[in-house]
């Protein structure tokens, strides 16, 4: 393999202008970022352009939040910031300092009287079989919690409109809507 290496070096030498010094690409420095995630403070060292989504997945080992499109089109990365649902892929981690971030990992077991118990939305998704592959599910569930916090749903049509930021490639929409109706008690909708 040494000859390929030498050939490559030779070709690179030929491509470079003889006189100019090779430019050194310098990366911006990383900086300390403190995030409040699921009630716990996390001290991270991040490049300033790191998205909240990448900070969660790559630096906090919180891989429950999924990267789907990475362009704010699919909703798989939905998390709650101060109780409001947002796309974690379209905000930078440094912009979220001082705010309270809740991911799918932080939803269960918040009730001190019932430690480890699933969040009602998580339970409803299980009861109604509201997923197939499950990739969009953490985003769907966090989005539903945000939807409930917003308090704007009156009808099933409202659920469909206000959940349109979460795409499901398996097409589990019908059961997702059932699960949300159940949590909101829009109708008596006991799972079979």
């Amino acid at each position: 393999m040494i000859w390929t290496r030498l050939l490559l070096d030779y070709m690179i030498t030929q491509l470079e202008p003889k006189s100019a010094a090779k430019p050194v690409a310098s990366l911006p420095e990383t900086r300390p970022v403190t995030l409040m995630i699921n009630g716990a403070e996390q001290s991270l060292t991040l490049a300033p352009w790191t998205t909240l989504l990448d900070a969660l997945r790559e630096y906090c080992d919180l891989t429950g939040t999924k990267k789907g499109c990475d362009h704010g089109q699919c909703g798989a990365c939905t998390v709650l910031v101060d109780g409001k649902r947002i796309n974690a892929c379209l905000t930078l981690a440094v912009m979220q300092e001082g705010r309270s971030i809740t991911t799918i990992e932080g939803l269960a077991g918040n009730d001190p009287s019932a430690p480890g118990q699933l969040h009602p939305v998580q339970q409803a998704f299980i009861d109604h079989d509201a997923f197939q592959c499950g990739y969009c599910t953490p985003g769907q569930i966090c989005s539903t919690v945000g939807l409930i916090n917003e308090g704007k749903v009156r009808t099933t049509a409202d659920i469909k409109e206000l959940m349109s930021g979460n795409i499901c490639r398996c097409g589990a929409y019908t059961h997702i809507v059932d699960a949300i109706e159940d949590v909101l008690q829009l109708r008596t909708n006991q799972p079979a």
Binding site: G72, G75, I86, T91, S143, E161, G165
Partner: protein, 336 residues
């Protein structure tokens, strides 16, 4: 406000190719695509521009950093400017509306595929004057979402051709409501009527708006409420929700019985800015609200419209949408 003033006179920001970031929903996406490459980002989320309050002439001031969701659901907006509330909620997704700000919404870049694709020519992304001939991928390309009004086929060298549309829903309602944009910059404060804030591509398609370097939007002022009873935002798109408009129409009517006393109409999805034509609106004043009387208004609004192949359907679609939206605002037909 002092903090805002200090920020806009900070000279080091200009030289660094700095950009302000608020919600970031469009800017961060464009950075991922290498379309926007700011040397520095300045997070302005901590500026004191986060309230909605009444102003002296009976209007309402929407600060630049209030989110689109908080604006649409604000009781005073819902009661006095239902057209704006309806329009904001027709755009994007709940997650994006929670992040996106009123100021940032005005600065949305086009969703033209060729603007996003750095392998394709684009006079908006890479103006010809700066880097030699660029061109327009959309003219002669796939242009289903593109403009039919106010486009430039440009100079013979093709350096200013642009048929991009401005994608905001919110601004279409703001145009119908005749909002005023408040701006602060190195030369102090000024106001810009919404109709003069965005611009047609002309010879400089790279410029979306008329802001000067260093200027920042601080608020959107809505004049005293109008069209509370008779208004409509009709948005036509490929999906029922969460898609950009192919054509949209914001209508505000002032009625006296069956007669139209005054009217404002703004179109979205058809041009480089929200499209208004006061002469077309004037055709309806004093007339009975009927489809027959709406038709000449639609004819006039779309006068000079040009299709580029895939988007030619928009001319007829917009014509029908104007008539339907006027009918819905006048309560001649159902809104759903």
């Amino acid at each position: 406000m002092e903090a805002v003033g200090e920020l806009t006179t900070e000279k080091s920001l200009d030289s660094a190719g700095a950009k302000f970031i608020a919600g970031g929903t469009n800017l961060i996406d464009l950075m991922k695509e290498n379309v926007e490459r700011p040397g520095r980002l300045v997070d302005i989320n901590h500026l004191p521009l986060n309230t909605i309050e009444e102003i002296e002439d009976g209007g309402l001031r929407l600060d630049a950093l209030v989110s689109n969701a908080d604006t649409a659901y604000h009781p005073l907006v819902e009661q006095r400017y239902p057209l704006l509330s309806q329009t904001i909620l027709a755009g994007a997704s709940p997650q994006l509306r929670n992040m996106a700000t009123n100021g940032g919404n005005l600065f949305q870049r086009t969703r033209c595929y060729y603007f996003y694709d750095t392998a394709m020519p684009c006079n908006k992304r890479e103006p010809g004057q700066n880097a030699g001939p660029s061109g327009c991928g959309a003219i002669g390309g796939y242009n289903r979402i593109h403009a039919i009004l106010g486009t430039t086929e440009g100079t013979e060298d093709g350096q200013s051709q642009c048929i991009a549309t401005y994608p905001s829903d919110m601004a279409v309602a703001l145009a119908a409501l005749e909002a005023v944009i408040r701006v602060t910059g190195p030369n102090g404060e000024r106001t810009i009527p919404i109709g003069e804030f965005h611009r047609l591509p002309g010879q400089e398609p790279q410029r979306d708006n008329t802001l000067e370097p260093g200027e920042i939007v601080t608020a959107i002022d809505l004049p005293a409420p109008r069209f509370v009873d008779n208004h409509m935002y009709l948005k036509l798109r490929d999906r029922a929700s969460y898609a950009f408009a192919l054509v949209s129409v914001a209508v505000g009517l002032e009625m006296e019985g069956d007669v139209v006393k005054d009217v404002r109409i703004a179109l979205g999805g058809v041009a480089h800015k929200p499209w208004r034509k006061p002469e077309a609106e004037a055709l309806l004043v004093g007339k009975t609200a009927t489809k027959e009387n709406f038709r000449p208004v639609a004819d006039s609004l779309l006068e000079g419209a040009v299709g580029y192949g895939h988007n030619t359907f928009k001319i007829e679609l917009a014509h029908r949408a104007i008539i339907r939206a006027l009918g819905q605002a006048a309560k001649l037909e159902p809104t759903a």
